[in-house]
Symmetry: C2
Subunit: 205 residues, 2 copies
């Protein structure tokens, strides 16, 4: 699947770089350097230059990088120079918070629909969305051509939901349920579990 031989770990840092660049832009800055970016992010300047060099030459010797230009290049690389519609599954606390989340704006993502299996939730409003019956998920996702989804169901249902989404054409899943999903190799999964992050820190306390 990897279009070229770019290491996953490098791709994983690009969104971090992009977020920092957008923040600098919001501070009305126009130029930065690998050194400055590195200091902000706790990453070495050499690594930032090496990472970027995998995709092209975006800077100028002696000057650094145009923030606008570099951000736009990274957006193109990550394919977030467009807007991806997202299907959210699960209208509980997490799904609802995600559906109302303001942080997707200008970052290439937009929640497009939200599903649940609870008759008490179906038809209710969550933010600007009406909760849809999970029975309709496959046809609705397929019809909208959605490729990106977020699972915010209890763990017990997450695998079944993932299977449905995949058969509807979804290729990227962000999973909030606390289980490892098993998916075909052309489907990408990322995990968010706050407890995992917390447990990783208590070791050092």
């Amino acid at each position: 699947m990897a279009e070229k031989g770019i290491p996953d770990i490098v791709v994983g840092r690009l969104p971090i770089y992009l977020r920092a660049l957008q923040r600098m832009r919001a501070e009305n800055r126009h130029i930065t350097s690998s050194q400055e970016l590195g200091e902000r992010l706790g990453i070495s300047a050499a690594q930032i230059r090496k990472d970027l060099s995998q995709f092209g030459e975006f800077g100028k010797q002696g000057t650094g990088y145009s923030i606008d230009f570099l951000a736009e290049q990274i957006r193109q690389i990550l394919k977030v120079d467009r807007v991806w519609d997202i299907a959210v599954v699960g209208a509980g606390d997490i799904g609802s918070a995600v559906a109302r989340y303001q942080g997707f704006a200008n970052r290439g993502m937009r929640v497009a629909m939200i599903f649940d299996n609870d008759p008490g939730k179906i038809g209710q409003k969550v933010g600007s969305f009406t909760v849809q019956d999970i029975e309709q998920i496959e046809s609705a996702v397929r019809a909208a051509g959605i490729q990106v989804a977020m699972i915010a169901t209890p763990g017990a249902q997450a695998q079944a939901v993932a299977d449905l989404l995949i058969s509807a054409g979804v290729k990227a899943i962000l999973n909030y349920a606390p289980i490892s999903l098993s998916v075909p190799e052309n489907v990408h999964v990322q995990y968010i579990d706050p407890v995992i992050h917390l447990q990783r820190m208590t070791y050092y306390l």
Copy 2:
């Protein structure tokens, strides 16, 4: 700070192993092997054995690992054989969802208090908690001896909140705000930003 020379990346996998073991236990299993665990998690058996060997000898040749015993050992290593009280800052959608989250149970974490700066939220209930005035955060966190916190404020306030928490004695922060925090080296930070995870996947679409 590192008590021994255990690589961060190894510590980071322990919570994943623990979660899988707890799941197996819930399925009423009693014994597992590095191979089975690896297949569930998409990690090589050799890596799991190598990781665990950093901390001790927890298995039996020919048999594998007792799920209960190994889970308990990992809990002790991660210091989640106790319950950590957590302060949540920000009673918006994310903070509220976290405060009501059921997934902390039996995993060594418990939300203990939630703060906001909005007079319209202070005094209101969020789950079983009453939102407290952020003015009281330093004294309340210090008095409770809290060392773990989650920041769920807008990005603009996150650094100031982090500074307050740190001066109150917090040593581990899970940050939902979309900015990199700058903290002393004895304070640990982890980040959750759904957009970062999503952008990391769109590259491959």
